[in-house]
């Protein structure tokens, strides 16, 4: 099912608003992580991924594994916007007895993998890509990781594996917002020069502004930069992007908006700054 070319910028605004409202209602953390990847999610869901909300298990669908499972709010928001679940259900995020857990869970229609412990998603996405390769199937396997998550060695095991098995159908997006859970990446475990790391592992690389929809669309839907090899998209992003007082702040990995902050944040998102 070819995706409808919807207005991805408008979709990104709605995803941001959902995530801010959901984490506010649930008094949940990780809103900054959600806003950081809002544009990546909007372009993927609005213009790239081949999905069918009426058939979440459609065998020919593209796979998206969100390895940074703590950004669950925006994952559920994207799936709701596509029709995998009711938008009204988003208000039950992290609620007692609900199904929208604080780390993404496969029991939610459209979620490919339950994640939450970091470093698990990319090996699984690589396995999905290997399955498509062995089947001769056309679907692609996408994975989104956080930058801090790349500290986990299991990712590098999978990065090595994917080049050896020529998984051209595997696309990794790094949400490179430069802040990890207890400090700046540069101060905790420096990743620079990240594109060169992927190139050294025989991956094709795009390096781009992770809030630039045109650049994201071209990279996500275009041919692989290194034919026959997996693709890494190093997406430079800003944690908390779209809400001035949340941007580039470690604190918004943990805080949720209070009532006044909610109104201010939603107004900023609506204005599309």
């Amino acid at each position: 099912m070819t995706p409808n070319r919807i207005d991805t910028r408008a979709l990104a605004r709605r995803l941001r608003a959902h995530a801010i409202r959901m984490t506010h209602l649930a008094r949940a953390s990780h809103v900054g992580s959600c806003l950081s990847m809002a544009d990546i999610m909007a372009v993927l869901h609005g213009a790239v991924l081949k999905l069918d909300p009426t058939r979440p298990d459609w065998p020919e669908r593209d796979r998206l594994v969100v390895s940074k499972g703590h950004a669950a709010a925006i994952v559920y928001a994207a799936l709701a916007e596509l029709g995998f679940l009711p938008v009204a259900e988003l208000d039950t995020y992290s609620a007692d007895g609900g199904r929208l857990s604080g780390h993404v869970t496969r029991t939610v229609p459209g979620v490919e993998l339950s994640t939450g412990s970091l470093g698990h998603g990319l090996p699984v996405a690589a396995g999905m890509a290997l399955a498509a390769q062995r089947y001769g199937a056309a679907w692609r396997s996408f994975c989104i990781v956080s930058d801090g998550e790349l500290d986990e060695g299991s990712n590098w095991e999978a990065i090595q594996f994917a080049q050896q098995f020529r998984l051209e159908n595997l696309v990794l997006v790094v949400d490179y917002n430069k802040i990890q859970s207890f400090g700046r990446v540069s101060e905790v475990s420096e990743l620079h020069p990240l594109p060169e790391k992927f190139r050294a592992f025989n991956w094709g690389v795009h390096e781009l502004d992770g809030h630039d929809h045109d650049a994201l669309l071209a990279a996500l839907s275009g041919p692989p930069p290194l034919p026959g090899r997996p693709t890494a998209i190093v997406a430079h992003t800003v944690k908390g992007k779209g809400v001035s007082f949340m941007e580039d702040q470690l604190a918004w990995h943990y805080r949720s908006a209070d009532a006044a902050q909610l109104a201010a944040a939603l107004a900023e998102v609506e204005a599309g700054r």
Partner: protein, 300 residues
């Protein structure tokens, strides 16, 4: 045991093209025939057990049944969280085969002693845990694990384990196999150490002690009725396993007896902390634990 098992896997996979075998770069002289016969169903992913389990989950989520092969603790403890989250949380059809279970690689040192695997694997949701005593049990269990289409662990010895059953003996994951019936002590064993239990029964008979011997091919599910029967009909129960005395067969038998209100004299023969750091052949290390028959007789 490992060669017979991989031959059985090859035959089963030939008839079931959804089965894939992954190895983390181990299996020299064992896996070649599978790889050559069924190359599209085989991958050596490299020395990366964490990624191997994740890759297996991705394949399983895409319609495959996946078998993982490695030795000792590498496909279990090294990648425990991947098994827990990626495989068991998602209830996926992934079967882990570990060769060199127990003290089979005794002289290689404690890194290669797989003596906590049964208890740890049995704690994971959906996970079946099988510990065959001989090649016959192993080849009978493998298809049963694959057909469950759920997480499973198959702990094998290495090579050269003697055949303890005749070829017509039915083997199921869920049922213990009584090899000898006696009245005084029931010796409940899992894995190739069953051979020592049978020898101990002979030694006990010479001392005028009547012993039963049962093999438990499955640790989970455990044949609880066989455990209760042992507790009801014998003065003593001794569990025998090439595994830590904590968490494995002995622990599961004890809790089954307790839950049934049965209190025979009870003992666990297995690996204790005294063995950690010791090296030697499998039989030399097991000898350090003392004769099985002495443990059994001491209960009476």
């Amino acid at each position: 045991m490992r060669t017979e098992t991989i031959d059985a896997l090859t035959a089963h996979a030939r008839a079931n093209p959804d089965i894939m075998l992954l190895t983390a770069d181990l299996g020299y002289s064992v896996l070649e025939r599978f790889a050559e016969a069924l190359p599209a169903q085989y991958a050596n992913v490299g020395v990366c057990e964490q990624a191997m389990v994740g890759i297996a989950a991705g394949l399983a989520l895409s319609g495959h049944r996946v078998v993982l092969y490695s030795i000792a603790n590498f496909p279990t403890l090294r990648c425990l969280e991947q098994l827990r989250n990626d495989v068991c949380y998602h209830a996926l059809p992934v079967t882990v085969i570990a060769v060199g279970g127990g003290l089979a690689y005794g002289a290689q040192g404690y890194t290669h002693h797989g003596v906590e695997d049964l208890g740890i694997m049995a704690a994971l949701p959906h996970m079946a845990v099988a510990c065959p005593a001989d090649p016959h049990e192993a080849v009978e269990l493998l298809p049963q694990l694959l057909e469950r289409r759920l997480p499973a662990y198959l702990r094998l010895g290495r090579s050269g384990e003697p055949v303890l059953h005749d070829a017509a003996t039915p083997v199921t994951l869920e049922r213990a196999i009584w090899l000898r019936r006696g009245a005084d002590v029931a010796m409940l064993a899992t894995g190739p150490i069953l051979g020592r239990a049978l020898a101990a029964a002979e030694a006990l008979a010479a001392r005028g002690i009547s012993a039963s011997v049962a093999s438990f091919p499955g640790i989970r599910p455990l044949d609880e009725e066989a455990v209760r029967e042992a507790g009801r009909t014998h003065r003593a129960v001794l569990t025998i396993e090439e595994h830590s005395v904590s968490g494995g067969l002995g622990t599961r038998v004890a809790e089954t007896l307790l839950a049934a209100g049965l209190s025979p004299r009870f003992g666990k023969y297995g690996v204790t902390d005294a063995l950690r750091g010791q090296i030697g052949s499998q039989s030399w290390l097991l000898d350090r634990l003392g004769p099985v028959e002495d443990h059994a007789a001491a209960l009476l």
